[in-house]
């Protein structure tokens, strides 16, 4: 298994190269002179020249590309233009907040979504199915910031149950959990919708399989039939979708962090956008690319845990 993981990591290098190249091109696509864009119209020629040299923009494009790749693979993502701190430090500083939020959302989404999808599939075309489908379609239709706003108004403003603003920097564990609650529920409910939907369709497929009939012919009772025989097999496509959902989850968590004024990648990105901090944005993209690849590999490895047919060879 470890060997397999290492091989998958090595195989991911070409993919990463392609992604990095795409990022490199994207950043160079910025219309006009990046230095002028960054510094604004009033910048003097000297300071523009200085910034170009600092960014390496005065070099030929090939040299820039090689330098860029070299920097990435040696772990140098440059310094934030606005704060002057290394990009990696900026990101690592807020990452725990985002990880905390996404993990909480995954827990909520899976704990609620799996049973909802299973019940919908088992009671197909009866009211639990209709209810579950309606709930998941609603969840799929809510843009994360819209649901966030509605949650905020209902729970924090109208009912006054939870703090309006996200977790402060200090505070007890209780404060921290209360600050986490609304953002995590917001993200979790959306994830629940995805999980319920895919669980339902995957379960419907599995429930029609011959081996389910075999198990019934053995006298297996409904609960065990669903949990051990059906759900276990239905998990395989569910894992794929949850893995693919990672991207959406990160995107939604960025919006959620902004809505709930919570520290994290969302605010970092927003800050970088407003400050036209291109090195920070570029660094963030690179780190996301790496994350995506790692999650893909983790998804592949997770198959092996549920599907004995997967061989790590």
């Amino acid at each position: 298994m470890i060997q397999y993981a290492i091989r998958r990591l090595l195989l991911a290098i070409p993919t990463l190269m392609v992604m990095l190249t795409a990022i490199f091109v994207l950043v160079r696509l910025v219309p006009g002179d990046p230095a002028a864009v960054i510094l604004g119209d009033q910048a003097s020629d000297a300071s523009l020249e200085l910034l170009r040299a600092k960014l390496g923009l005065d070099q030929p494009i090939g040299v820039q590309y090689v330098a860029f790749m070299h920097d990435v693979f040696t772990g140098h993502l440059g310094r934030s233009l606005s704060s002057g701190r290394p990009v990696i430090q900026e990101v690592l500083g807020v990452l725990p907040w985002t990880i905390e939020l996404t993990l909480a959302a995954i827990v909520i989404g899976v704990l609620l979504g799996l049973p909802l999808g299973v019940v919908a599939a088992v009671r197909r075309n009866r009211w639990p199915d209709y209810a579950s489908r309606l709930v998941s379609l609603l969840g799929l239709s809510f843009p994360a910031f819209v649901s966030g706003i509605l949650l905020l108004i209902v729970f924090a403003v109208e009912l006054g149950w939870l703090p309006v603003l996200g977790s402060g920097d200090a505070g007890s564990l209780g404060d921290r959990l209360r600050g986490l609650a609304l953002p995590a529920i917001n993200l979790g409910l959306i994830m629940m919708a995805y999980v319920a939907r895919i669980t339902r369709s995957s379960m419907l497929g599995v429930l029609g399989e011959d081996y389910i009939r075999t198990a019934r012919a053995k006298g297996v009772r409904p609960f065990r039939l669903i949990m051990r025989h059906a759900l276990r097999n239905a998990l395989i496509p569910i894992i794929t979708v949850v893995g693919l959902y990672f991207g959406t989850l990160v995107g939604n968590s960025v919006l959620t962090e902004i809505i709930f004024n919570r520290p994290g990648l969302g605010k970092l990105i927003l800050g970088a956008l407003n400050a036209r901090d291109y090195t920070l944005l570029q660094g963030l993209m690179i780190m996301f690319a790496i994350c995506v690849i790692l999650v893909n590999i983790a998804t592949d490895l997770a198959y092996g845990l549920v599907d004995p047919r997967v061989k790590y060879r």
């Binding site: 379609l137 239709s141 809510f142 706003i149 108004i153 919006l255």
Partner: protein
């Protein structure tokens, strides 16, 4: 799969049967028709000029004069929302159309050509598929600068991968079917085979997905506008209206909540419609 041509008509009839019997599909269709009509007829039905400022009536809550209240400049929220529908729907539609065209072309090429080209492109698209849609759109929009064109381009790029996947799988199946083999034997070129023999057989799948992805495009547009990467003012989209109202959401909730509901209704309607279309097009889901 048996012969395709003779069953196509009955398949369509049966799909229509399933679609028309699904009550949710009619709700979705009615809702989306209503929104599209409102957007088209905006000058006729909007109670006020969306750009007309009224200093006296600033930040009025919903009232008989302004059903959904007014904003910081005293502009009528309902009228602005109706006009914003035009841009939101346009962006969603055009971005999806672009993504559909490029994605389906790539998918058909991959399925038809196969080999390393297919492997490479699919590997790339897999990564794109997994990359956060919103962040990708956000980065692209940020790099290109905020404008209507760039917004559409950014959203379109994020949606190419799913369309390519949808188009690729049936191409591989169709490629091996007799009538394509026959066309090849008759000396038709690959472009003609892909365009005349393969594309029409999958176009319904691609269009069905288009409805679901247009919902996603509208959502992404709203999110980008909310972050501040949308269409520059004074033009408004639902996302940018929410953004304008968000700072003082505790006091002037109507500024954000009504555009939020408009987005929700549109996306929900498109999702209902897309789901119903997909159920109708997929005989496996239809079979009882």
């Amino acid at each position: 799969m048996t012969t395709l041509a003779p069953t196509a008509a009955t398949r369509r009839a049966r799909a229509w049967d399933t679609f028309s019997r699904n009550r949710l599909s009619w709700i979705g269709l009615a809702l989306i028709a209503l929104i599209v009509l409102a957007a088209i007829a905006a000058p006729l039905i909007a109670p006020h000029d969306p750009l007309e400022q009224d200093i006296v009536a600033r930040l009025d809550p919903p009232s008989a004069e302004h059903w959904l209240g007014t904003d910081t400049y005293g502009r009528d929220v309902l009228s602005r929302m109706i006009y914003a529908a035009r841009i939101s729907l346009f962006v969603g539609f055009v971005a999806t159309l672009i993504a559909m065209t490029i994605g389906a072309t790539i998918g058909i090429l991959c399925g038809y050509v196969g080999g390393w080209f297919d492997q490479f492109m699919m590997g790339l698209l897999d990564v794109m598929l997994a990359f956060p849609t919103l962040l990708l759109g956000l980065m692209i929009a940020a790099m290109l600068g905020a404008s209507l064109h760039n917004l559409i381009i950014a959203i379109a790029i994020t949606e190419i991968a799913p369309f390519a996947r949808i188009a690729r799988a049936p191409t591989i199946t169709l490629k091996q079917l007799d009538f394509v083999e026959a066309a090849r034997a008759l000396g038709f070129g690959p472009v003609r085979i892909m365009g005349v023999h393969i594309l029409p057989n999958m176009i319904s799948d691609v269009v069905v997905m288009g409805s679901l992805w247009m919902a996603s495009a509208i959502r992404t547009e709203a999110a980008l506008s909310f972050i501040g990467l949308g269409v520059p003012p004074p033009a408004a989209t639902w996302g940018s209206m929410i953004r304008e109202g968000f700072d003082n959401i505790l006091d002037t909730w109507w500024l954000s909540v009504f555009p939020s509901l408009a987005i929700l209704a549109t996306v929900l309607a498109l999702n209902l419609l897309g789901d119903a279309l997909r159920d109708a097009a997929d005989p496996k889901l239809r079979a009882e």
